[in-house]
């Protein structure tokens, strides 16, 4: 080696050594104090609030346990992958997990979460709203106690739409009228190939009186005409002149942004959009300015989207019968690999108590699952749409309860995307076959 190269290598070696030392030092954590430590995993959204709840509950335990709340991966799918991989590898560092509502059946069947003790389950059932409670049960037993929930409402522009529509057909008609008059007219829905599309389909099917899958695995999507009507609605929305061109790749954020940009007259979305449009941003927040006709403009007209932001119940499929919106949310589960299940169940009761759910609702935008909180004035102040939310939750639907839910959902969203190409005649059969295969976990996922 030449001298120059040798000294170059010394520099590199020093740099690597420094990096290693720096990484080690910053990575060194504090040691445990010897008491029971419950490791808890939450998603990124609301991490601060969950951490605050964990701290509060650790204090309230009187020294019996400490809850260490860690955040998992960025997306819910990655979160599930990380938890599931650790569970099949018998990782005992998992005690409490915040589970998406659609994971209950899967985690329960796989033996990854413990069923709740009967008396605790009864207590949870009494104080929780019906819809969210449903999402935590599998084959009659409670496996995951509801922590927060989420449901969609119809948000619309009060200046463009004096009387909000009751059904999808009405809404499409109104949107087309607006389009003909050259005004903002998009109907924002989640039409991308992802879980949100399955949620839309499930909502429409249950609203039309049908269901996709029974709890013992019977494929019911072809029974009656509910699925056909649902598909027709989706196709009509996507192919109407009032459709947003990027509907087939739109997710919740895209829908929200389109409305805030003044391009949309309607959106079906979660209550977080209301908080978002009312958040003061760097330029004042509240969406774009709108001119007297209702079109978006960059001039300061004194009127913004937030000033004409209204809400109503989710549109139904047929008039007279309200929609049964599919709920989302998070439940609390205790892992079977935990070494302190008794303390974990105790901690769960605290993590979902009144103060913590209220904090989650007000600071993190997550509607609570405790029935009594909907009468709380602090909550009602933060959620002006609280009545619509409660009513929606009272008549909620849930997604198919099957351990193979991932398979089923992928089949549905794969087939129904892009919504503009939905053809009920050919697709109903494909859907039935695909779901039948998916439920048995046969067949591939893309």
């Amino acid at each position: 080696m030449h001298c120059g190269e040798a000294s170059g290598w010394r520099v590199v070696a020093a740099a690597v050594g420094l990096l290693l030392v720096a990484a080690t030092l910053t990575g060194c954590g504090s040691g445990d104090s010897g008491r029971v430590v419950l490791h808890s995993y939450s998603p990124v959204d609301g991490a601060d609030q969950y951490a605050a709840a964990a701290a509060a509950c650790s204090r309230a335990s009187g020294g019996r346990y400490t809850i260490q709340m860690r955040t998992g991966r960025r997306s819910t799918d990655d979160q599930r992958l990380q938890l599931a991989r650790r569970l099949v590898a018998n990782d005992s560092d998992l005690d409490i997990m915040l589970l998406d509502v659609i994971w209950t059946a899967e985690f329960a069947q796989a033996g990854w979460i413990l069923p709740y003790p009967a008396d605790l389950a009864r207590h949870v059932e009494q104080e929780t709203l019906q819809g969210p409670y449903e999402t935590g049960t599998y084959q009659g037993r409670l496996y995951a106690a509801p922590l927060n929930t989420n449901t969609q409402l119809l948000w619309y522009r009060t200046d463009l739409v004096p009387n909000p529509p009751r059904t999808w057909d009405e809404m499409i008609q109104m949107a087309e009228d607006l389009a003909a008059r050259g005004l903002p007219h998009y109907i924002e829905v989640q039409g991308a190939q992802f879980e949100g599309l399955t949620v839309w389909f499930n909502t429409l099917v249950t609203t039309a009186g049908g269901s996709i899958l029974s709890e013992n695995g019977e494929v019911e999507v072809a029974h009656g005409d509910a699925a056909r009507r649902a598909m027709e609605v989706m196709a009509r929305v996507a192919t109407s002149p009032a459709a947003d061109p990027s509907l087939s790749v739109a997710k919740e954020t895209d829908a929200r942004l389109a409305m805030e940009a003044g391009l949309a007259a309607f959106q079906v979305n979660y209550p977080a959009v209301h908080a978002s449009v009312n958040t003061p941003g760097p330029d004042g927040g509240g969406g774009t300015f709108i001119d007297p006709l209702g079109r978006p403009t960059i001039q300061d007209t004194g009127r913004r989207v937030r000033d004409v932001f209204g809400w109503t119940a989710y549109p139904s499929v047929m008039s007279g019968k309200p929609a049964t919106v599919t709920v989302g949310g998070l439940n609390l589960g205790v892992s079977t690999t935990s070494q302190h299940p008794a303390e974990a169940f105790e901690a769960v009761q605290c993590l979902r108590n009144r103060e913590n759910q209220l904090r989650n609702a007000i600071d993190a935008g997550m509607p609570p699952t405790l029935r009594e909180l909907y009468d709380d004035p602090a909550f009602q102040r933060e959620y002006p749409a609280w009545q619509a939310i409660r009513d929606s939750l009272a008549a909620a639907s849930v997604r198919p309860k099957t351990p193979a839910y991932q398979n089923v959902s992928i089949v549905i969203s794969d087939l129904l995307n892009p919504p503009a190409e939905i053809n009920p005649d050919t697709m109903l059969g494909q859907l039935t076959d695909g779901i039948a295969e998916a439920v048995k976990s046969e067949g591939l996922v893309p």
Binding site: A15, L19, L20, A22, A23, T26, R86, N90, D91, T253
Partner: protein, 276 residues
């Protein structure tokens, strides 16, 4: 051939094109890493505002610092073991004649061409049952197995370059084969061993599929996987600046290695086909 000024100019142009080709993506990542969050969406190649905040953020992330530690540790261990095992086998292949040599070379090449996905399924099941899932050893072992072909290939080419006489002279003097190997050949092969170590390190550092499949927590997650798991303020927020900063940091070691020993690496990678 005489280089006329015109031909030199043309070659200079060609060189500049090559430079642009190689450097633009790296410069882009660097540019993103210095942009403050509000400038990320402006689409400019050269940042209009300059900030170190992304780097500060990245080093405060426990996820990243522990991942860095894992990456360095696992890569160093795997490199050391792979080079040692590879050196032994390469010497045998280059110098000695024994039954099954052709098959061994063939199998080694076969492993080099293995689609890694073919191993993920069984390795995941084996490691989770045996308790190797999410451990350093669980990654080191596949890394050794998959870098051995590269190591053996490169090292045997270097060994072939060393003249036989030295070894024969040592044997004449009464040295055992091992002593001849250790005292005579090894010091001469040192540069080759060094180059092989760099190539193997780059391989381990670069790996994504094994690391993504066989790790789950900060215990053994490598930096390559960690940057794909960076979380912004919410699940809809992609922390572009942090990812870019971390990405650039990860690029530094391997790029340094490569730049400092470019000649040897080129020789090492092309050795087998050139020689023999």
């Amino acid at each position: 051939m005489t280089g006329t000024r015109e031909r030199k100019a043309w070659w200079a142009v060609a060189d500049v094109v090559i430079l642009v080709y190689a450097l633009v993506p790296v410069l882009w990542i660097a540019s993103l890493s210095f942009k403050p969050p509000r400038a990320i969406a402006d689409g400019r190649f050269v940042p209009s505002e300059f900030t170190w905040s992304n780097y500060q953020q990245v080093f405060q992330l426990d996820l990243f610092t522990s991942a860095l530690r894992n990456s360095i540790g696992i890569a160093l261990i795997a490199t050391a073991l792979s080079v040692v095992i590879g050196t032994l086998a390469a010497y045998a292949i280059a110098r000695l004649s024994f039954p099954g040599k052709k098959q061994l070379v063939g199998v080694t090449l076969l492993v080099a061409m293995f689609p890694q996905m073919s191993l993920i399924s069984p390795l995941f099941d084996i490691e989770r049952s045996v308790g190797l899932f999410d451990t350093w050893a669980g990654l080191v072992l596949p890394y050794i197995a998959f870098s051995l072909p590269l190591a053996v290939y490169t090292l045997s080419a270097f060994f072939r370059e060393i003249p036989w006489e030295l070894e024969k002279a040592a044997r004449m003097d009464g040295a055992t084969p091992f002593q001849a190997f250790h005292n005579v050949i090894l010091p001469l092969a040192a540069p080759g061993v060094f180059t092989t170590a760099i190539l193997v390190f780059i391989f381990c550092w670069n790996d994504f599929l094994f690391a993504a499949s066989l790790t789950a927590t900060t215990t053994s997650e490598t930096a390559t996987v960690a940057i794909t798991n960076f979380a912004g303020a919410s699940q809809f927020d992609e922390p572009t600046g942090s990812i870019a900063a971390a990405a650039l940091l990860l690029t530094i070691p391997t790029t340094l290695f490569v730049l400092l020993s470019q000649r040897r690496i080129v020789a090492g990678l092309t050795a087998g086909a050139m020689k023999g």
